[in-house]
Amino acid sequence: MESDNTLSQQYEKIKEIISECMQKLGIIETKQKKVVQELNKKTDTRKIANIKQEIEAL
């Protein structure tokens, strides 16, 4: 019985650890998304500038 309790407590703690781990990974993924967003923004701005130049050259 005592062993079961210990196992159960360990299990709960592990779940907390993994939950915290997933939370941190989620934050990292958000940052990754932001990196992609930034690149998209830069690229779009560049594309728009190119198009604008082409239009102005007409």
């Binding site: 989620g26 990754q32 990196v35 992609v36 967003q37 690149l39 690229t43 604008k52």
Partner: protein
Amino acid sequence: MIDERFSGEPGQEEESKIPEEPKVEGPRTFEDLLADSKEMLTKARESHRVAYEHAQQMVDSRSQDSALPEDVDSAKKELDALEVEASAVVSDAEDKIGQVTGEKTSFFAGDTSRGPVLEATDADQPAAQSAETASKSQEQLEASLQIPESVKPGSTDYLSYLIDRESLLTEDIAKRERDSEKPERRVIEEAAERNEELRLQQNLLLKLERENKGGTYSSLAEIAPFIAKYAEAIRADIEAAKASGEPEAGGKVESQFYRSTDLLSAAEALISRIREEGVEVDYASQEDSTEQGQREKEPVAPTAKDVLAGLYRAGERSRQDSQNEIHAGKLPSRNYAAERASIRGQAELVNRFKALDHQPTTEEREAFVHELEDIIATELAQPESDGQDREKAASHEQFMKQALKGINFANAARMAETNLAEMRQQWAEKQGDPEFIMLFEEEEKAARDYKLRAEIKEYFLNGTPDVSTAKSEVADQPAVEQPNQPAVMAEPENIKDEEPQNTPAEDYSEDSSEQFAEEPSEEIQDDIDGDMEEEPAEEQVDSGLEQEPASDGQQSADREQNLKATTATAEAPGDNREQELNLERRLFQLRSETAGGVSSERAAEISQEISESLENNHDFYRLMDGAVIASQIGDRKLARSFLESAEKNNVIGGRITELHFAERCCEIAAVYKELGDRNEVKRMTTLAEEKYPQARSWERYQALTRARNWNPFRR
């Protein structure tokens, strides 16, 4: 027992990535505990790997889509650095599990093909960093969500803030959903709702940014109608959903309604702000916003007139405010402050025009020229009622000079000449192409027009429109006041006489260090001056035009007819061109001279001169020159005669499109208006509208505006 924390609702992006807890009642043995731990951590790691690979794919795809290599490299490095953090997070979890179980766990030792791919180093302390982020309190989050008041809605910075806010809220939602504490559903929903709203705004702004083609917002005026339009579209969707009577529509309608209310409030606040700045927003374009698919339609931007007129009014208001301040004793010099405000507004206006100089179409550029000239003419024609004629006259003249300084006509003429030169090289192969001929002649006209404008500019800035005759001609003929004639432009000589009195330049020199320290107009003025310095000498443009070959094939039948008529004795095409230019210059001088009125004796001389020089002439614009001059000297009969001839030479075909025809009708109508012949005005404007009913409203409006505000310096 399955923890409800991991049972998120379907359809939510973040929740879809949350691995489900192994469906076991609890660890049976210590080995089961280890196996379950590994399974949970593996799922977390696997989920992250998918996200990481997706991010990598996105970056790779952008590398083939106009992204700069250095930007792609930078993004990859950032992703890799984040991956180092992820590896450390997983290792940290492994260590902690090892501490709990009392055993050194290494679930993924040697396994680099799955999960975070980079190893953490001692220098990287992502876990602590992430934990710090994760432990942000609600207050901190709220504080970080605030957009500073100094950031203008619609600006690129505003967009960046929105993106940041969205990320923070996404983090917040993820945090709450994964938090070990019992989740508060209501708070999560509120956060999600806010996030959704931000997404909406962000998407809207991104869309606007793309539609704006420049990536930045040059003014609030450009964004407000878009926002208003989208807000209206949302509201229309809501109404449509309500009208549909669908059972599920209720909830959606309600949430959409609140969202759109916020957006509308933002839009209205923005529009209100723009109104304060003096720019009117065209609500008429929103009339059809209830139609299905309105959101996909191209938004209608404010016209050049809206923006320019708004700036002008803003300048006027600023000047008025300054005058009020002077009256209240808050400012030391009435003249100085009024002029300062005026010049600031004008400099803004000029700057605006300069920006337009880089716009894609000639029509837009020309429209701005016309608007600017209209404003100048209106300013000059403004009646004096406050007994400060001299002061105001100086202001008008300064206004005009400032405005004209900002317009690089010579550059525009040079560009048109360059285009012409290129087109001449293509002439042999495209000789039979009517569209090419039309384009060529339009470009030719543009070059001539801009060159003439450059001359006008020189005329007003230096009083020397033409090196050969203009100065002496004008100097010999001082203006004589004729109350019945529109006081469109003051004579340069008069301006010069008055200039030493109370000019802004004088005031600047007296007190410029203090009063102008914070004025943006100084910079603008520097720009204007810089442009002036860079502007090529008019002689360059002249020489370009004079060297222009004039082969028979380059002239349309219309043009040839004009040349034959105007230069009957000419022996060579080059002579024809020179004669035509001389006639144009001479008529321009006469228009300028007669604008302020002339003596009856001089009027008779001018009447005879234009009758002779335009006899048998079939060029619409020369005839209109004659009509304007005749109108200005009060020779109504002659003016009518020229107008009738001009009308006969306004025939659709060749390079005369229906739009050109309509515009010319309006120009004729404008002179009839000056003559007070309402029937003819109505007949001509009706003709214009009949022949060009398909004109977009702004075009028709532009043509009619030109007609209403006809002045001799616009063509």
